[in-house]
Symmetry: C2
Subunit: 137 residues, 2 copies
DNA sequence: GATACGGTTGAACAATTGCTCAACCGTACA
DNA sequence: TGTACGGTTGAGCAATTGTTCAACCGTATC
């Protein structure tokens, strides 16, 4: 839980999965497997991807990110906007902080949060485009 | 669970969250809240985003998608590549099918899976770029 | 100093989730 | 027809996760 690394997903476990052969079948198309193995992002990036998207994959967190995409806000503002408690929002902001998706600045009692990186907005936009395009709802 | 809609996240519950005021504080910056409320994607898109990213947010599923990004593969190939059982892979492929991220074709006993949409590859790429850029591991 | 308020935190609980296991379906081939 | 194999499925279990609740920290104001 409060492991040394901030990783939500245990990298070692996944590595074990990768290198321990638990497969219950033979390869049918060696060429396809070889092509995939060579061109896929390396395991570290794969796990990083899963961790990144996992954070985006919660309604509360993604709504917070959508809100912050429009400009910085304090915890109370976000709580009011989403109709949730400060505590619930603060817990999720902690996750977003630890994964470097938001940054913050303090001013007196107030803490202002904002997106940490242009990539974050970009990911939201690409995702939103897909959602609208497929109407997958 | 096996609800009428294929939604993993219950849209109605989130709507209730949105419109039921569970906030335990006052707005501090009305302008910021109003700006966010006006410019955020609508609730349907917000939930769609969370559902989409939730699917990407699992190591096994994202690795499957990374593999299929290099070309179509059958279940056995994927199982071998990831060192997992056909069953485990098949369960995850079902999720990917239901969310329209992969499509498939049958040929005899074999089922070939591939990405359903260019957006899927795009999302992987944008995410991978962010992961490499931040070194957030 | 006392009070109020923005914000954080940890424990606990309910809900969700991914894999395993065993059984099963369909197609191919002997 | 029987056997083998690719693939799917449902139940069950262990692990993870998001919210609530209560307590607490810091800063500002009286």
């Amino acid at each position: 839980m409060a492991s040394a690394k901030k990783s939500v997903i245990n990298l070692k476990d996944v590595r074990d999965d990768i290198f321990t052969d638990r497969c219950d079948c033979d390869v049918i198309h060696e060429d396809a497997v070889e092509r995939a193995r060579e061109n896929m992002p390396n395991p570290e990036v794969q796990i990083g991807l899963a961790e990144l998207f996992k954070v985006f994959g919660d309604p509360t967190r993604v709504r917070i990110l959508c809100a912050l995409r429009q400009g910085e806000m304090c915890v109370c503002d976000i709580a009011f906007l989403l109709g949730m408690t400060k505590s619930a929002i603060s817990h999720q902001l902690r996750v977003l902080r630890q994964t470097n998706l938001v940054k913050y600045r303090k001013d007196g009692k107030t803490v202002y949060y904002s997106l940490d990186d242009d990539h974050v907005a970009e990911i939201i936009d690409v995702g939103a485009e897909h959602v609208k395009h497929t109407g997958a709802l």
